[in-house]
Amino acid sequence: MESRCLIAKRVAQEFKDGDLVNLGIGIPTLAANYIPKNISVTLHSENGFVGLGPVGALVDRDLTNAGGQPASISPGGATFDSALSFAIIRGGHLTATVLGALEVDQEGNLANWTIPGKLVPGMGGAMDLVVGAKRVIVAMEHVGKGDSSRIMKKCTLPLTAAGAVEMIVTDYCVFKITSHGMILTEIAPGVSLETIRAATEADYSISTELKEMAV
């Protein structure tokens, strides 16, 4: 399985019937393709609606997802203004947010909005999402450009939020971030513990119940 799809498939296993979830641009968006058919998960789009559906055949210039791509609203969805959209986000109404990262660290700090001097797109809604969602899941390829580790002891880039990340899903493994530190809980098929060790700067322990990712 292609690594981006593997990550997306594993992320989708976290969703439960009735959840309200916001999926970031890129790999997180792919998770929508793997939501089990027997549960109902509502997707939140921070530009102002719930019930984000697939891209429709007809392009409506008044309807895009938060990445600006043509989108659709599923039956039962609802539209609203940006103030209500972020009240939903910060007010504890969002079950989970899934985002990519430039860096994430063993204390659950997340950096995903700027590389000073190089890339300054702005934080958009990311800071509110990671502070407000009940669960923050980072979904990304384990190794960044240039083979550098992106799972660090301490983030070096400006933070999006401190101590917010609960879970990291990569194409190599799953980490959970707990009050007892970062724990390796699942390992992707065909990936060795040595590979993970070599590609991870952060300190972590290995769960006594370590298992293979069911993807």
Binding site: S45, E46, N47, G48, F49, D60, R61, D62, L63, T64, A66, G67, G68, A71, I73, T79, F80, D81, S82, A83, S85, F86, I89, R90, N109, V120, P121, G122, M123, G124, G125, A126, M127, D128, V131, G132, P158, L159, T160, A161, A162, G163
Partner: protein, 222 residues
């Protein structure tokens, strides 16, 4: 009171160095015809408060490309490379604000409040220099209210009293900025007689809208 004006009359309200809020999210729900009028009038040194800086050829981005903007207060500039270029060249001041904080700062400005206490940005550079206030053992950042001289919004339909209906994801910042500016001009596709929009259907009350500009043809901008 007749609220319907044309684009030329709308332009009379838009002057050099104005502080303007503009609706839209990646140019969806941005009053594109009014933006083109600002381009034509070529006013300078604008301060624009909006969700993002659009694209180089769509929405607020066109004003950036045309060098009419002195300062941007936005949550995101990633879709307009020209914004980043002018910022790095110190030709344009950009204040980046988390999206949910930005909309609440505007909302509080329009609601007569002294700002908003939010957990967003704690522990990040967004918190630099801002008071942290503890309420019931939980820390919050104090973010100040924002107002503007002018709000330029877009809606799908209006009645002659200025009551507005928005469509789908084109609502976004539009109804919120309409509360926080001294003058509000709405670009609408249709204006119907009073009474044709039921009170329960109204998404933004007309008392908050000073002028309506009807742009019947779907305006595709530059």
């Amino acid at each position: 009171m007749n609220k319907v004006i044309n684009l030329t009359e709308a332009a009379e309200h838009i002057n050099d160095a104005a502080v303007i809020m503009i609706g839209g999210f990646l140019s969806v729900g941005t009053p594109e015809a009014i933006i083109d009028t600002i381009l034509e009038k070529n006013v300078k040194n604008l301060t624009i408060i909006a969700n993002d800086s659009g694209f180089p050829d769509r929405g607020i981005g066109k004003l950036v490309v045309n060098r009419q903007v002195k300062k941007l207060v936005v949550s995101h500039i990633g879709t307009n490379p020209e914004t980043g270029r002018q910022m790095r060249a110190n030709e344009l001041e950009v204040e980046l604000v988390p999206q949910g904080t930005l909309v609440e700062r505007i909302r509080s400005g329009g609601a007569g409040l002294g700002g908003v206490l939010t957990p967003t940005g704690l522990g990040t550079m967004v918190a630099d220099g801002k008071p942290i206030i503890t309420v019931d053992d939980k820390e919050f950042l104090l973010e100040k209210p924002i107002r503007a001289e002018l709000a330029l919004i877009k809606a799908a339909r209006a009645d002659a009293a200025g009551n507005l209906i928005f469509r789908k994801s084109a609502r976004n910042f539009n109804p919120v900025i309409a509360t926080a500016a001294n003058i509000v001009i709405a670009e609408v596709q249709d204006v119907v007689p009073v009474g044709q929009i039921e009170p329960d259907e109204v998404m933004l009350p007309g008392i908050l809208v000073d002028f309506l500009v009807m742009v019947r043809e779907e305006h595709h901008g530059k």
